[in-house]
């Protein structure tokens, strides 16, 4: 599993463009600039996954007092949107739509989370996407169970999927089924219907029932603690 990192600039003033964090797949460790020579830092994706929740995207100035280490927020940029989406899987429909809006992508409400993620993974940023800052808020309790991200298939074009979805819904529509069933009836011989049970099967069910209901096996006890 890839331990890529977010390249994050810890912004400590309201003039964030010169203090931004950077997320870059090439960086695999958290770098803390103790000497404060540079405003740019980078941090592992694993760290952000564990410690932070996505708050939103911004292009405006941020009050430095709310940012790390004085406040609960960090802001960062990403080199690769695809990598960010793959490495930070805690994004819901709303968050994905917010990110998509900044990249001039418009989602329809029926798109699933995976479709939205695929659309963003396939997106190639253009200059008009601009400098987008991703804002994260520190979690009250770090995530302890999620340290790895699942391997994902190649992203599919969500427009193609939408067409497939429509066709599938059409196939399952009541009108279509009615038309289908109104025609020649073809009995599928492979279908086990009606499911007639043999005498042995029924005997087994009766035995199981008798075993479950046998009062001699029902022994009772008392919990010493609860009411």
């Amino acid at each position: 599993m890839l331990f890529s990192t977010l390249f994050i600039a810890f912004c400590r003033s309201s003039h964030f463009p010169s203090h931004e964090l950077h997320m870059d797949s090439g960086v695999r460790r958290l770098v803390v600039d103790v000497t404060d020579v540079s405003d740019e830092r980078d941090v592992a994706y694993a760290f952000v996954r564990r410690e932070y929740a996505f708050e939103g995207v911004t292009e405006e100035d941020i009050d430095g007092t709310t940012l790390y280490p004085r406040g609960p927020f960090i802001v960062c940029t990403v080199c690769s949107l695809r990598e960010f989406i793959e490495q930070f899987p805690f994004l819901g429909k709303r968050e994905l739509s917010v990110i998509a809006n900044k990249h001039a992508i418009e989602f329809r409400s029926r798109l699933t989370i995976r479709m939205r993620m695929d659309a963003l993974r396939r997106h190639a940023c253009v200059p008009s996407c601009g400098q987008i800052l991703y804002k994260f808020r520190a979690l009250d309790r770090p995530r302890t169970k999620v340290t790895f991200v699942p391997t994902q298939d190649e992203p599919r074009d969500y427009l193609d999927e939408l067409v497939e979805l429509r066709q599938k819904e059409k196939m399952w529509s009541r009108a279509h089924r009615r038309r289908q069933h109104g025609g020649e009836i073809v009995i599928d011989q492979s279908v086990e219907y009606p499911p007639i049970r043999s005498f042995e099967d029924k005997s087994e069910i009766i035995q199981q029932w008798q075993a479950a209901m046998n009062p001699e096996k029902l022994t009772r006890g008392v919990c010493a603690v609860c009411i």
Partner: protein, 617 residues
């Protein structure tokens, strides 16, 4: 006072000091602490002696999975359902005389020692079962009505027990139904169930004043004068003065009851507590309430009314349990919403009621009013939380305008309705206002039993039909409680004793232990789903079950039964099934033999109808 589990679901846990310290309750009075085991050795932990391996030495404790996981995890916590979490009542620690008085107290005596009452109580004595009906003692009867918790004595009398005769008058009524004699006041003096013992009442009140936290904090005092006035007797026991006695005679009743052996009658009589409050659920009364509420709002009247004088006791009051049921919580240590419960161990009233009713030999289960009153409180809360008004979307804006325009007519109509619920709208404006009421409908989708709730359940079934098609089977499962040894199992009596009981005795046992009957029913239905239907367990008797939907109902005697719909994999809808059967004779033959194999009109080997009538010996 314990909740039982199947033995296989209990774990042996070796207690450590940290665990036992969690199970302490520092708020309990010292006198109420259990003496049935070595308390000091167990670090003052409040435990259930029957779940302990040893009472005199530190040994393993039997625990259910929830308690075990809560107490043995890395950072152990007090289980919410623990008796140490203010669900210990210390009945066994009462002095013998008080215990005897409390356990044998009649409803009349409890009423005299309680701080407040929730209902107007009628005691209904039926001396003879009606023809063709089961004896009443074998029926689980139900009450209908709304409870409101009334202080026993408004104003100055609030802190004096027993209450004065003025407070009792009109609140207790005894109805005798049937019989060939008319009970008189003199003859009732020989009828034990309606007699009140001065000694018992005094004993209980004195003890409660001295030991019950809530009685102490309310400054309750005992009034010997009130007691003497209330009980119509020179000796210890007598009839309560101020109670109303009614008789519903049979035809030809002429005897005044003077020659009747009342002790013998008392043995045969069935007493049933009927609780009621004023108010009804008719459409007409809803209309009146709606009109009043709308008129109130349109006149910009405040929603909080500040009144002087006596007010109803709040349902959330921590003293509620002890004030209403001093015989169930005599120490006043296990109230609902106890203020000393810390945040994480706080439990809802519903959960505590459930816990109390789940106990084996629970005094809460056998109390005639506890379930009724608690259920009513829960229902009233559900009404408050779930009620919404609904109008069609097309009328969202215009309805408000119309209401404001017709505010005067609404107010007039509300006043008319208050005077007479049968009033009809006369003017055009009033008719328009009535039309507005019809458009404003009340929705209570999460309130059990309401129309909105039923509609939601129907919609769930429709969703399943949309998903899985037509259900294949409609099953009614009606387990016979009188012949099920599971009732004995959950009622905590040996199976041998159950087998030796007559049908009548079993019926009386079931009526007295509705909780055991309900748990036995649940076990049977669950086993039916797991074993016979095989839901999520492969192929069952009916085939592979994709989904099921079941509702539970109670029939006349109180026995539970369930109606269930089953969706079987690959079951076609009726139209398609008909076509398939029409097209293929072999398939048709298979379907018919499958149905005949599953659906029977009699039990195997039985051809005669068996009588299930329960007759009193």
């Amino acid at each position: 006072m314990l909740c039982v589990f199947e033995d296989c679901l209990l774990y042996d846990v070796t207690p450590n000091e940290q665990m036992l310290r969690l199970l302490r309750n520092e708020c309990l009075p010292v006198k109420s602490l259990p003496t049935t085991y070595n308390l000091q050795l167990y670090h003052c932990a409040i435990l259930q002696p029957r779940g302990m391996r040893s009472l005199d030495s530190i040994a393993d404790l039997r625990m259910c999975s929830k308690c075990q996981s809560a107490l043995t995890k890395k950072n152990p916590v007090l289980p919410k359902d623990a008796i140490a979490n203010f669900q210990y009542y210390g009945i066994s620690e009462l002095p013998d005389e008080v215990k005897e008085a409390i356990l044998t107290a009649s409803p009349f005596e409890v009423m005299l020692v309680a701080l407040c009452r929730a209902t107007v109580i009628t005691h209904h004595y039926q001396s003879k079962s009606l023809r063709g009906r089961l004896p009443d003692e074998v029926s689980q009867r139900f009450n209908r009505g709304n409870i409101a918790i009334l202080p026993q004595d408004p104003g100055a009398l609030r802190s004096i027990l027993p209450p004065a005769i003025d407070d009792i008058e009109g609140s207790v009524c005894v109805v005798f139904a049937g019989g060939k004699f008319t009970p008189t006041k003199e003859t009732l003096k020989r009828f034990p169930p309606v007699l009140v013992s001065k000694r018992k009442v005094k004993c209980i009140i004195d003890w409660l004043i001295a030991n019950n936290e809530w009685y102490k904090s309310h400054g309750v005092t005992f009034s010997a004068e009130n007691l003497e006035t209330l009980v119509d007797s020179d000796g210890d026991s007598g009839v309560l003065r101020g109670i109303q006695i009614h008789h519903l005679p049979n035809e030809g009743t002429a005897d005044d009851g003077g020659s009747v052996n009342w002790d013998k009658v008392a043995e045969e009589l069935v007493m049933e507590n009927v609780a009621y409050m004023q108010g009804d659920q008719s459409h007409r009364s809803r209309q009146v309430m709606k009109a009043t509420a709308l008129a109130h709002a349109l006149q910009h009247k405040p929603f909080l009314v500040n009144r002087s004088g006596s007010t109803l006791v709040n349902d959330d009051s921590p003293c509620l349990l002890s004030a209403l049921f001093p015989h169930l919580d005599p120490w006043g240590i296990g109230g609902f919403n106890h203020p000393a419960r810390s945040g994480e161990s706080r439990i809802s009233l519903e959960r505590q009621v459930k816990n109390l009713l789940r106990q084996v030999d629970s005094p809460f289960e056998s109390d005639s009013l506890f379930s009724f009153i608690c259920w009513n409180i829960i229902q009233k809360r559900a009404v408050s939380n779930n009620t919404t008004f609904s109008i069609s979307s097309a009328r969202h804006h215009s309805l408000v305008e119309d209401l404001i325009k017709n505010a005067g007519a609404v107010h007039t109509l509300a006043e008319k309705f208050e005077r007479n619920a049968d009033t009809k709208a006369e003017t055009q404006e009033e008719k328009h206002a009535v039309q507005l009421f019809h458009e404003l409908s009340m929705v209570t989708k999460n309130l059990q039993g309401s129309n909105g709730y039923k509609l939601c359940r129907r919609n769930e079934i429709r969703s399943l039909m949309r998903m899985y098609g037509t259900p294949a089977f409609f099953i009614t499962l009606n387990p016979h409680d009188l012949s099920s040894v599971l009732v004995a199992h959950y009622g905590n009596i040996p199976a041998d004793k159950w087998r030796s009981m007559s049908s009548y005795e079993r019926a009386v046992f079931v009526a007295a232990h509705p909780g055991a009957a309900a748990r036995a029913f649940d076990a049977q239905v669950q086993a039916f789903l797991d074993i016979v239907v095989g839901f999520r367990r492969g192929i069952g008797l009916f085939g592979k079950c994709e989904a099921y939907y079941a509702t539970v109902e109670a029939q006349g005697r109180g026995t539970l039964h369930t109606h269930m719909m089953l969706w079987i994999e690959r079951n076609p809808n009726p139209e398609r099934l008909r076509r398939m059967m029409h097209a293929d004779p072999v398939f048709q033959e298979n379907v018919l033999s499958w149905l005949e194999d599953l659906i029977k009109c009699e039990l195997p080997g039985e051809t005669e109808v068996q009588s299930t009538e329960v007759e009193k010996p």
